[in-house]
């Protein structure tokens, strides 16, 4: 393990040679066409989000009132909304907002969930019982209800939306990591580390958690999809990102009033959400099949 510390993926790849584990993983992943399609969608989405300011043809928040609710045309490829704002520009900037929400919420859930699951699984006993009962309580609320409860307490807005979506995902990480730690902690390599004098923290961080990485990565990828659905749902309800920020769920919510005269205004943000969720689901399923087929 210590050899791998501080090494870049490329160095590790070169050290392992063409037949190394990462190359083997990549080869297996590449054979999975659905996973590669998912990876392509995710890559495109991330690129759009990162390059949004350079790509948008119009301002995503300012519109020309004379151009309101225009159908798709050579000037406005996806038409304009009720305030004359260019829908394509708003969709591209929406990718940036969505990615931001997904990354922060999943990271929050990952850090807290992995810590709780690892500590509970490793220590066992009362601490484990307490942590897992707390997770059971969080799981007793359907996830969007839990997020709504958190929004009710904290208020609306981008940051609170991230916190709400993140907290709702904590139990998924905690349960997976606890299960993996429980099955690994009695193995010989862990016993050997303990016999060599490694403390609990070191055993967890250097020996147990690196061996739980596969299910954590798979869960994080699939959670990116769930978080996008939850976050856009909350914005659709008016309890997430507030106008004029171009968030896809909030765009759909505004479009409801123009369903009859301009149905395309409601079609495009929904399609964007679905395509990105399909991308993360395909990629996550492919990673799961490649990294840990037992999880199927």
């Amino acid at each position: 393990m210590s050899e791998a510390a501080g090494e870049t993926l490329r160095e590790r790849y070169e050290r392992a040679g063409a037949g190394g584990e990462l190359a083997d993983l990549w080869r297996r992943l590449r054979r999975n066409r659905a996973a590669m399609a998912g990876a392509g969608i995710v890559a495109l989405f991330v690129l759009l989000a990162l390059l949004a300011p350079a790509l948008v043809p119009f301002s995503p928040t300012r519109g020309d009132f004379g151009d309101r609710l225009q159908a798709p045309s050579p000037t406005h490829w996806l038409g304009t909304d009720e305030l004359g704002r260019d829908i394509l520009s708003r969709i591209i900037f929406g990718a940036r907002i969505s990615l931001q929400i997904q990354v922060v919420a999943v990271l929050l859930a990952l850090v807290v969930g992995v810590t709780l699951g690892a500590v509970g699984g490793y220590l066992g006993g009362r601490m484990d019982n307490l942590i897992m009962r707390a997770m059971d309580v969080l799981l007793a609320f359907p996830s969007i209800f839990l997020a709504l409860g958190i929004i009710a307490a904290l208020g609306t807005g981008l940051v609170n939306l991230m916190i709400a979506a993140g907290i709702s995902s904590i139990p998924a990480f905690a349960r997976i990591v606890r299960g993996s730690v429980l099955s690994l902690k009695e193995r010989e390599f862990v016993e050997a580390a303990r016999a060599l004098g490694a403390g609990g923290g070191r055993v967890l961080c250097r020996h147990l958690l690196p061996n739980c990485l596969a299910p954590i990565i798979v869960q994080a990828t699939l959670r990116m999809a769930t978080v996008l659905l939850t976050a856009s749902g909350l914005s659709f309800l008016g309890l997430g990102v507030q106008p004029p920020t171009p968030e896809w769920g909030a765009m759909l919510s505004n479009a409801r009033s123009y369903l009859i005269v301009a149905p395309y205004v409601a079609t495009i943000p929904g399609l964007a959400i679905m395509v990105v969720v399909v991308g993360f689901n395909l990629f996550g399923d492919g990673l799961r099949d490649t990294l840990d087929p037992r999880l199927r």
Binding site: A153, G249, L252, P263, G270, V277, V278
Partner: protein, 296 residues
């Protein structure tokens, strides 16, 4: 398990009002409340007593279904909740019916003809079903079946026809999950020796599939049913908003907007308790489908 989880649920629901920044009495009174109003609310809701006493009072009242008086409507929260719970349960049951019929059929067809065109189409449909935002599907259904074709009402309540579009929108994601699980579970079962024996004995194929295979494949499918009911209660928040249905989800969202905390607390408690009880019933159903499982 039930008691500690319900204790935790009551603690989370109780905490909602106390996590909100500021004095709970001022929060309940709203921005325009005078000092006399705030004092009256503090006495009326027992907010001048120690926190532990407040919690015990809240838990004791909640156990009797008493969540106090709604700040907005001045009606008892219990009445509002039970009125709206009826609509939500109706919607959830109709959706689970849609999800079961579509999901089981698609899963069985996919499993009995694996890697065929039916299988590919079924699983592609399932992928889109899982990835499609409920609120977007709801809007699309309204545009096509209510606005364009005039076949079904776009919202509201009254007849069975009013339930069709919301049930399809809410049931689609669950039908996708059920289809995937049914396929996976059935694929394992149909390879077993007893299925070959049943076929060799001369049973008709439908008898083999429905009586021998499906019953043995039901345990994992049932687990999904239990979990999906929870996601339906969650999804109902969005569906009720799209189709203007007066259910618990909409009551909760309106409660959050109006900062009507007794309603928010009551709705959170009610939904979590319903979800926990449904999971308990699911566990009990295991024993029915698999006599090897018995609970002490």
């Amino acid at each position: 398990m039930l008691v500690p989880v319900l204790f935790g649920v009551s603690l989370v629901s109780f905490s909602l009002l106390h996590v909100v920044p500021g004095d709970p009495a001022e929060v309940l009174g709203g921005a325009e409340a005078t000092k006399e109003d705030v004092d009256r609310i503090r006495r009326e809701y027992g907010l001048d007593r120690p926190l532990l006493v407040q919690y015990l009072q809240f838990a004791a009242n909640a156990a009797r279904g008493d969540f106090g008086i709604s700040i907005q409507s001045r009606h008892p929260v219990r009445g509002l909740l039970f009125q709206s719970l009826g609509f939500t349960l109706q919607l959830s049951l109709a959706s689970i019916l849609v999800a079961s019929v579509v999901g089981l059929l698609a899963g069985i067809i996919s499993a009995t003809r694996p890697y065929s065109l039916f299988d590919a189409l079924g699983m592609l449909g399932a992928l889109f079903g899982i990835s499609m935002p409920i609120f977007w599907l709801g809007l699309l259904l309204i545009v096509v079946f209510a606005v364009q074709l005039h076949w079904l009402p776009s919202g509201g309540t009254g007849t069975l026809f009013h339930l069709i579009l919301p049930a399809v929108a809410l049931g689609s994601a669950s039908s996708a999950v059920i289809a995937r699980m049914t396929r996976a579970s059935m694929l394992e079962v149909v390879r077993q020796d007893y299925i070959r024996t049943a076929r060799a004995t001369g049973y008709r194929e439908d008898v083999v599939i429905f009586r021998h295979a499906l019953k043995n494949a039901m345990i994992p499918i049932l687990t999904v049913f239990g979990l999906e009911f929870g996601s339906m209660l969650g999804g109902a928040v969005l569906t009720e908003t799209v189709f203007s249905l007066p259910g618990v989800g909409r009551l909760l969202v309106e409660g959050i907007f109006a900062r009507d905390y007794p309603v928010v607390q009551g709705a959170m408690m009610l939904v979590a308790t319903t979800f926990v009880l449904v999971n308990l019933l699911t566990d009990a159903a295991y024993a029915f489908f698999d006599p090897r499982i018995r609970y002490e």
